[in-house]
Amino acid sequence: METRHKILLLDDDPEVLNMYQEILEQLPSQPEIRTASSGTRAMAMLEAEQFRLLICDLKMPKMDGLQVLSIVRRKYPQLRTVALTNVADEQFRSRAYALGVDQFWYKPASDQEVRMFLECLEALLGREAETGFRGVQSKSLVDIIQLECISQSSSVLRISNGQLAGKIWIQDGELIDSEAGELNGEPAFQKILSWRTGNFETLPAEPNRPRTIFKSYNALLLETAHAMDESQEQAAAGGHSEADVSSLAQLSQLDGVEFVLAMKPGEKGMQVARGLENPAHMAAWARESLARFRALADRWHAGPLEQIECLGPQRHVALASQADTEFCVGWKYTLSAGQIREMMKKVLVLWAS
């Protein structure tokens, strides 16, 4: 039986809620429309039941729309979000997108705009059926591949990880080929699985793709799971795995790098460094600074913290985080802030790969 999607409409004005409820009832998929008149009420409803889409006004008392969207994005990554406002201010649009909203709309004021609005919402509601990978942030690549194979799917998974990209071809539930950079077949598959983070996209199947992988997906995934377990055991025993130490050595070879320090957030002592004699002080300062400016972001509604560059007469330092690791990288003082920003992108990509 086909289930109706649920939409949560949040606006502090009851008249607007009624009006938009009527408008949304025109959606062809006939979703169930629920309303909330405050951010706290909306959060309670999201906690109690599962929604597909949140449509959120920005200007509201107590908890404004940007605050709601900021919390929702972290707490319910699978939820589609639409910001709807009559505030024609470019800054708010920019900030809403920075918080990860799917769409930003000025409240439609004509029949044509209402039609376009409904068409876009309908597309947003139906997108999952087309791609199937929304909200996979909490799933590993292994989960995704298993799902594809168990369901006997034929598709091409395109996985991107920063500047790196790879593909996995699946035909009738069997892995048949893989490609990552210059690698092909099993080595490419293993390389892709070693990426710690990434984005997924399904592309149409390519039935004529020549087969280069002949092991069953179970065998390949078991081998990988075994390697991952070993890595996690090492991490639990000594803080970081050998792979992390090796990655750090690679990072320290980059031009301009003076030291590299990788840390697990919030876990004092869980750190690995290269080029620092006594990393404890630096790690404590880096952790504290990242935490401090993350907290500031919440109070200022400034969006996620991307990076901190610290310039000094003897050396520069950049602080950033990726997935479950925080970084403190020392740079030669001759580099500019812009150069450090660019180089840090390289650091994060190398670490992820």
Binding site: G65, S94, H281, W300, I308
Partner: protein, 102 residues
């Protein structure tokens, strides 16, 4: 579709990220600034405290800093150390250009 224009309500104001600068002395007192007076002072004081603490704690970790640049997705904050205090610059990021309404 004039009816829908009724949606234009008098709503509470959103926190508009300001552009401007201010100076803070070594004790955390904000001295002068070009930030809009409508922007909450407690947020400015908060930022000043965090900046000074970061400089101070960096020095404790044997790291001498003269400038700090904090990049958020919607905002860039840069702070220059100045005799124990700091000069702080704030600039919102505008990533999306306005769409042309026909």
């Amino acid at each position: 579709m004039g009816l829908l224009n009724l949606f234009a309500k008098a709503a509470p104001s959103l926190l508009h990220l300001p552009a401007g600068s201010f100076t803070v002395d070594r004790d955390g007192t904000v001295l002068t600034g070009t930030l809009p007076s409508s922007f909450p002072k407690d947020l400015v004081n908060d930022l000043a405290q965090q900046v000074l603490a970061t400089f101070r704690e960096a020095a404790d970790a044997q790291l001498i800093l003269s400038e700090l640049i904090v990049n958020y997705s919607s905002l860039r904050i840069s702070a220059r150390e100045s005799r124990g205090g700091a000069m702080v610059f704030i600039s919102p990021k505008e990533r999306y250009s306005p769409s042309k309404q026909s």
